[in-house]
């Protein structure tokens, strides 16, 4: 999937037919939690904490979606590859890259997790080549994902 993959005729109001239980007016029961990740992913360990908790929510049976904004859209770039560079001491095997981690999370969640990336933020940063698990969404669709989630938590600042 690349930016533009979901480009419909009226992108701002379009319903992704594969999202949640089905198209129509979103209700707060479609998803239990929306986590909004903003800001630079490597500025501190806030993003890794958020990802750890997202995984825990999905493991607990919760339905969780993540919306990335700003530089957080860089987390899922295909160019990151499958793994991070090996530890300089060579004591461990290379850990998954953030992009591969997201792919793995979505693949193993049985539909209880999904990853959304703001198209505007992605394109502004030239970060449009996301891994397959990512759904690129127009910025104005954000309100829809808030409305379809029982709870929204924002982490970080742009």
């Amino acid at each position: 999937m690349t930016a533009g993959h979901l480009a419909p005729a009226a992108p701002d109001l379009a319903v992704d037919a594969t999202a949640g239980p089905g198209p129509g007016t979103p209700t707060p029961t479609d998803w239990d939690l929306l986590v909004v990740l903003m800001g630079a992913p490597y500025a501190d360990d806030g993003v890794s904490t958020a990802l750890r908790w997202v995984e825990s929510v999905a493991r607990a049976g919760g339905r969780v979606q993540v919306w990335t904004c700003g530089y957080a859209t860089l987390l899922t770039q295909r160019a990151l590859g499958e793994s991070k560079p090996r530890d300089v001491l060579g004591t461990t095997s290379p850990p998954l890259s953030s992009a591969a981690w997201v792919d793995s999370l979505i693949a193993s969640s049985s539909g209880r997790a999904r990853w959304l990336s703001c198209r505007y933020c992605s394109e502004e940063r030239g970060a449009t080549d996301h891994v397959d698990a990512v759904r690129v969404r127009p910025a104005t669709a954000f309100h829809r994902h808030v409305r379809e989630s029982a709870k929204t938590v924002v982490a970080g600042v742009i």
Partner: protein, 103 residues
């Protein structure tokens, strides 16, 4: 009203607003849980720790076990607050009646 305040930024004075918010909300009669994670766990282990004063106002202070362990302050944190793990945090995040603010 029930609140979950998540403090994530480096320690005071950056997190002072979270401490103050938690205290004010609790004094106003709200049920408040303050979760310290990331660099904010350092707040709990300074001397004197601000945790007892918050607890006296009714704030429940939780400390992210993983964040404390990463910083080597797990034992110190356990002396002043209650360590919490990811499964409990997931339950808090999934509680729709718990208003959650992460800063």
């Amino acid at each position: 009203m029930r609140w979950l305040l998540i403090a994530s930024r480096p320690a005071a004075p950056h997190t002072r607003a979270s401490w103050q918010d938690a205290q004010d909300l609790a004094r106003g009669g709200d049920e408040v849980t303050l979760l310290l994670t990331d660099a904010a766990v350092a707040d709990a282990v300074v001397e004197p720790s601000p945790v007892p004063a918050l607890a006296a106002d009714g704030v429940r202070v939780l400390i992210d076990d993983t964040a404390a362990a990463r910083r080597g302050v797990r034992s110190q944190a356990a002396r002043v607050g209650r360590l919490t793990r990811d499964d409990e945090i997931a339950a808090l995040l999934l509680d729709v009646d718990l208003r959650t603010v992460w800063r």
